[in-house]
């Protein structure tokens, strides 16, 4: 058959997705806290092409605040989730390399049943590798394993002058360590290479105990950290007096093959929150009831399923809808050891005085600060609480920030939507060094986000 000539470029109907999308409407885009701004996500399998004109990449949008949102005046962010291929895995060295849009969930679906796990997992599997690097995520094993960035061995990046560069702790170390925890502001992460870990079984041995107040809690946490690879806990922020900071402390480790049940833990089903709850659903009474009930949940010791242990909230699809139409923010800070043993108690007292109510307040001790230039954790205690957005949320965050600045603490950019630039500068002595590397690689500050414009003074 004499085929009609096919012009080669006509065949390639896959011109830059960013250009192609210019005809579509700009809608609204938000972080996990559901505080929305004008914008849209544009996705393509080819991350190199997609990032040519992009100012920011976004993975699964699980950062709570505005760090994955476009800066004012820019409509598009490059969505990485279609760039999700595993490029290599070496069972000897455990080195794994993949495209940045691969989700932790998809990665674990392949490797968890084979006896491999990520060295560090955050509290959700709905994150991409690129996001795990940009946020330099930490987990229940931070006091032993550090952040995810400590296990990253190489990054392939598109930098501001358009080049694609490979960076490692040896090659372009400034770019590498500024990118670990750099919130995507140093360049677009295209590929991530890191070291997996081998696990004795896919099950967890866990002990949990009810603790009467924050002092007992802190002592228990410190003791557990001596011998347990994974620790964390939840506290009731509405309790007061002698019971201030009562909660449940959990410590865990991978189960050994002889104590683990046969077979692989079946994935749990995921019921969803079918609609956005009305604002009145979350009120002092409902929060108090929830916290009181949670405090009474059964405690004990034994083998447990890894999903509720590592990622309890993944069990509920769209759980962020419970915070109502105005959305929510998470306040997560870390208070250094130098702030003293009673730092957590004083934080809770301030919180209680300000009337901050939260369904879940998670407390965890952190190990040493990592090498990522803006990496969040440092030797001390991390406290995270969800706060529904109300008229006074800005004042509440301001007051908490003023308190933690006095104690030498800092906040987690991945969760933030409200911190003022002067507060962030006061809590982050490493900021100037970070900005210096950023300007070295991106003198015009092409790469930016709604958060970087709001908090770091980037050009709009």
């Amino acid at each position: 058959m004499d085929a009609p000539p096919v012009p080669p470029d006509a065949l390639d109907n896959r011109e830059s997705a960013l250009q192609r999308s210019n005809t579509a409407d700009v809608g609204e885009i938000g972080g996990w806290g559901r505080v929305m701004v004008p914008g849209r996500e544009v996705r393509d399998e080819n991350l190199e092409r997609l990032t040519e004109d992009a100012v920011l990449c976004r993975g699964l949008g699980r950062s709570y605040g505005d760090s994955s949102l476009p800066p004012p005046g820019v409509s598009d962010v490059a969505g990485t989730t279609l760039a999700d291929r595993i490029l290599s895995f070496d069972p000897e060295t455990l080195a794994l390399r993949a495209e940045a849009g691969l989700s932790l969930r998809a990665l674990l679906r392949v490797f968890f049943p084979r006896g491999y796990f990520v060295p560090v997992t955050p509290g959700t599997t709905f994150v991409t590798l690129g996001g795990m690097v940009a946020s330099d995520v930490h987990g229940k094993n931070h006091h032993c394993a550090g952040t995810f960035g400590e296990h990253v061995t190489a990054l392939k990046m598109r930098v501001a002058d358009g080049r694609i560069v490979e960076c490692t702790p040896q090659q372009h170390p400034d770019l590498f360590w500024a990118t670990i925890g750099g919130m995507g502001l140093t360049g677009h992460i295209l590929e991530v290479e890191f070291t997996m870990v081998k696990i004795p079984s896919p099950w967890i041995y866990m002990e949990s105990e009810r603790v009467p107040n924050i002092d007992a809690y802190m002592t228990g946490l410190a003791e557990a950290a001596q011998t347990w690879p994974m620790t964390m806990g939840w506290i009731d922020v509405l309790s007061s007096g002698d019971q201030l900071g009562r909660g449940i402390l959990m410590r865990g480790r991978w189960a050994e093959p002889d104590e683990a049940p046969e077979g692989f833990p079946e994935p749990k089903s995921r019921p969803g929150v079918p609609f956005v709850f009305p604002q009145f659903a979350l009120n002092p009474l409902s929060v108090k009831l929830f916290n009181a009930a949670y405090y009474r949940k059964p405690v004990g010791a034994g083998i447990t399923h890894p999903e509720p242990f590592f990622w309890p909230l993944d069990a509920i699809h769209d759980w962020n809808r419970i915070y109502g139409p105005r959305g929510f923010t998470q306040y997560q800070c870390v208070l250094p050891k130098a702030a003293g043993k009673d730092a957590a108690r004083r934080f809770l007292e301030v919180l209680s005085r300000l009337g901050g109510a939260s369904f879940l307040c998670v407390i965890k001790d952190c190990g040493a600060q990592g090498r990522g230039m803006l990496s969040f954790p440092m030797d001390g205690i991390s406290i995270a609480l969800d706060i529904p957005v109300r008229d006074d949320t800005q004042q509440l965050v301001d007051a908490l920030n003023e308190h933690i600045i006095g104690d030498g603490g800092r906040i987690y950019l991945t969760k933030d939507n409200f911190t003022r630039p002067e507060h962030f500068a006061a809590m982050e002595p490493r900021l100037e060094a970070f900005m210096e590397v950023r300007r070295r690689w991106d003198p015009q500050l092409r790469f930016r986000s709604a958060q970087s414009v709001r908090m770091l003074g980037d050009p709009q």
Binding site: M1, A3, P4, V6, P7, P8, A10, L11, N13, R14, A17, R20, S21, T23, A24, D25, V42, R43, D44, E45, N46, L82, R85, I86, L87, S88, F89, P91, E99, V110
Partner: protein
């Protein structure tokens, strides 16, 4: 299953290749771009139990002269394939295709004429060895002439008719034909379009297609809801179709 997949680097083809790899099927990937194929082959390799290496070769639906060489390479790597899956194809909105005749000509040629030529080459090989499965992605757009997809739909209607004919003519001789009709699926192909109700995910489509290939089902709609949607649309009288926008 020893399967050749044309179009495995993107979208539904990628999802399908991954699921097949994960259950241990032997795969050989065909596509246009070598470096893209290399990455997808590595991805499938990592997902195959025991990390069995997945091979690949270039094959472009715009260039029928290359079909035989590509299928030779696949035959050699797999030791004779028993299944051929085609997910590759072009897409354009009605407005884009009306405005760009070169693109329209390319789309009609690739989606119909050259896909049929590829299938004929694959069919000849499968039937020569007595049996085999030919699974080809058409579209719900080919089920009925509709306003938003006149041109794209016409290319797929031709393809669907060809696949139905093959099923009637050769099933008794051992050739199983599976015509896949995806509805709107969220892939890079449809990125930027407003998803209609019942939009599906590539993974859902892939598992349904694999099940259909296993059972030798001649026609499969994916996600399943589209079977009912299209049933209704096929029943609508012409005067209604002229009025509605879909």
């Amino acid at each position: 299953m020893k399967a050749v997949i044309l179009g495995a680097t993107k979208g539904m083809g990628r999802a399908l290749a991954r699921q097949a790899a994960a259950r241990g099927d032997a795969l050989f990937l065909l596509g246009r771009n070598t470096s893209d194929l290399e990455r997808s082959a590595a991805d499938c390799t990592a997902r195959t139990p025991g990390q069995v290496k997945v091979g690949f070769a270039t094959c472009d639906l715009a260039d029928p002269d290359g079909f035989d060489a590509a299928l030779d390479a696949a035959d050699e790597a797999l030791g004779g394939f028993d299944t051929v899956i085609v997910t590759a194809g072009m897409f354009g909105t009605q407005e884009q295709l009306e405005a760009d005749l070169d693109r329209l000509r390319a789309l009609l040629t690739v989606n119909f004429a050259h896909t049929v030529l590829f299938c004929e080459a694959a069919r000849a090989r499968l039937m020569a060895r007595g049996s085999g499965t030919l699974c080809v992605f058409s579209s719900v757009a080919g089920d009925r002439g509709r306003k938003p997809v006149v041109l794209y739909g016409a290319s797929k209607a031709g393809l669907s008719a060809y696949l139905e004919g093959l099923d009637h003519r050769y099933r008794a001789a051992g050739l199983v034909t599976v015509c896949v009709k995806p509805g709107f699926v969220r892939t890079s192909m449809t990125e930027g379009l407003t998803p209609p109700p019942f939009a599906g995910e590539p993974d859902t489509v892939a598992s349904r297609v694999l099940a259909a290939v296993d059972r030798g089902k001649p026609v499969v709609y994916a996600p399943w809801i589209w079977a009912w949607v299209m049933w209704v649309i096929r029943l609508l009288p012409r005067f209604v179709m002229r009025k509605v926008g879909f």
